[in-house]
Symmetry: D3
Subunit: 142 residues, 6 copies
């Protein structure tokens, strides 16, 4: 398959280790302690999956240069609020959005927009999750 | 309810007309002809709903100052790709994203990210929709 | 389990045949030709499943006395429009709603409401489905 | 766009205030204290969104004359049970349904129907939510 | 409808009682106490629906000969993890999978696969549910 | 993070190339021409994503030893039918299931089960997809 080989040749040959190391650094930059806590928690039951999450999610995808971290987190908060079935991950990524420079007001705007695309319950539950995250950060002095 | 009155006082009293006019201008800026086509199509069966779409979706939400149009469209493309059940709207908003300054590469990044949050089928179907939109714009010389 | 036996004793002992016969009569009353076409189509690949659909869906559930057929179809149209992933069934049930006395305007109201609970794309796609159904019935002279 | 202007002319020019006032009255009629509690809760984090919920959800949509409140709440309970990702809103609307004259038995019928259209888990979780709502109302003497 | 009659003739005429009895035996084999607890809980609010769950879900579907119980539970765990909106049922069926011979490692593999088809949050929440189920069984000495 | 390092040490250090090569072989075994067609199609718009699909989906996940390919495809067919929003991928995986030894009857059983967990429309649309796949294979003489 030519397209794949062509594409492949643009990438230095990475061992899994470099993907893992790069992903872990990216995860820490974005999610801080909360991200590492998720990885540790899933590592306790499925260590390979913790590795995939770091390697694929953060080493491959989040490390790509073509889109800023602010934009990436705006996309993720929107998607998880719209789906409405992954409350813990939504909170992790509202935190992550704030960590990479999205403001609280911008998070609220993203969530309010979801009323148009996924309905008011999705927006409301997203806003309530944001309030929990904002409150916890205030207590932590962030 | 004090909060609502407080909030309300920050807004000039708008007639529905001003919401509609403002929304229609915003819709045209974002979606161009495609947006107006959707409004006309729904107006043929449910004229009040065409008005709500313009007034609430574009006059109220999209006209808010707290988040850029680029970020708004990134959020919407992400959400619709993740939900995976609104193919026509996803295409309208991939177009809209390009109209407000999101690049083709950024659209692809947003869609690839959805593989992590909503699975590879959601990302794949989003990418195929993007290709259709990109191709149509190339033919139109945009 | 006492509750089940108690409950059971209120029901005459029905053979599967009576459930099927009752369900088929109810299906014809509600969905007309469209319902029978669905049953025939699924019967071609999975005959037992066609039987379950008639027996459980229509013989058990739709034949219950506690809610009118109008209300039942309003509920189904709302649910299928909100889910947004079952377009053929949504059209069958918009037709069914009209067959049991829901007016075209009431169908449109139900679909517009879904903008609040499942987002504008769900409502829009529901309205476009309704237009197709209304148009087809006009051609058929219903 | 002619259709919109035509449609618009059928509506008296409403200020936002009249939409808000009308929506709040409708919200109180339907949801009682639970509705106002939701509005107050969202108002604490996003006051504009509390206003939109009242204005659009209740001032625009729920105030439309073409469908009875009983039918509206049947539609909403069905949709939220089918989606299965908005448990708090489902409970608010089971309560609302009872407030506008849907009987407990009718609520149960709507939820049982969802087994056919969204699966038994959606129906079961809806029935458990209904039991919580019924129990709370019994304690409150409603 | 010939197909249905043909199909029907392959089935001995069963009374509802035989479907219920067969379903209850199957439910006990698969879900053990947890299944009966669910049936009792739903029976308290909607006794007919408890009966349908046993008759249709277990008497009709789970009792079919064409697919092993191991494969059936693998399918159900995958579907419920992918949907991500039925946490209690997912746990019941992780338990059921273990009861019918799916190993803990196989359950984890099924859940990890869902990262590809429904996203990492669906997989993660499935894995956390599995850990709860595995832990509870360890305490119970299973 | 100890768990990850421990886990990592059980894996030989793989370059990306070995993941890609292994994934492509697995993809061809499972999906045959249809899989390669999907990879080529996505490669035309997002070559890196075609690589991720092969590397992560097939090189990492499908190549794991802990679950048979038959069971993996049963899980995927169930999940995609339940989600109901990825029709092209459902057909690819019904084909894949047949390729790895799941029988047509077993595919039908998996899809019928989804009526219990995701509703009759999900099951029906899955059965109709299966019929298309079965018919195409008959024409191809498989």
């Amino acid at each position: 398959m030519t397209y794949a080989n062509q594409n492949h040749s643009q990438h230095p040959q990475l061992t899994d280790d470099s993907r893992f190391v790069r992903g872990l650094a990216q995860l820490n930059r974005i999610d801080g302690d909360a991200g590492e806590a998720v990885v540790a928690r899933v590592g306790a039951i499925a260590p390979d999956f913790a590795r995939y999450l770091v390697e694929y999610g953060f080493g491959d995808i989040y490390s790509r240069p073509g889109l800023g971290l602010r934009e990436r987190e705006i996309a993720v908060v929107a998607a998880l609020a719209a789906l409405g079935n992954a409350a813990p991950q939504l909170k992790v990524h509202i935190n992550a959005a704030l960590n990479v420079g999205v403001t609280q007001d911008e998070v609220l705007e993203v969530l309010m927009m979801m009323s148009v695309y996924a309905g008011f319950p999705a927006a409301l539950n997203g806003l309530f999750a944001a309030q929990e995250v904002f409150d916890a950060r205030n207590i932590d002095g962030k």
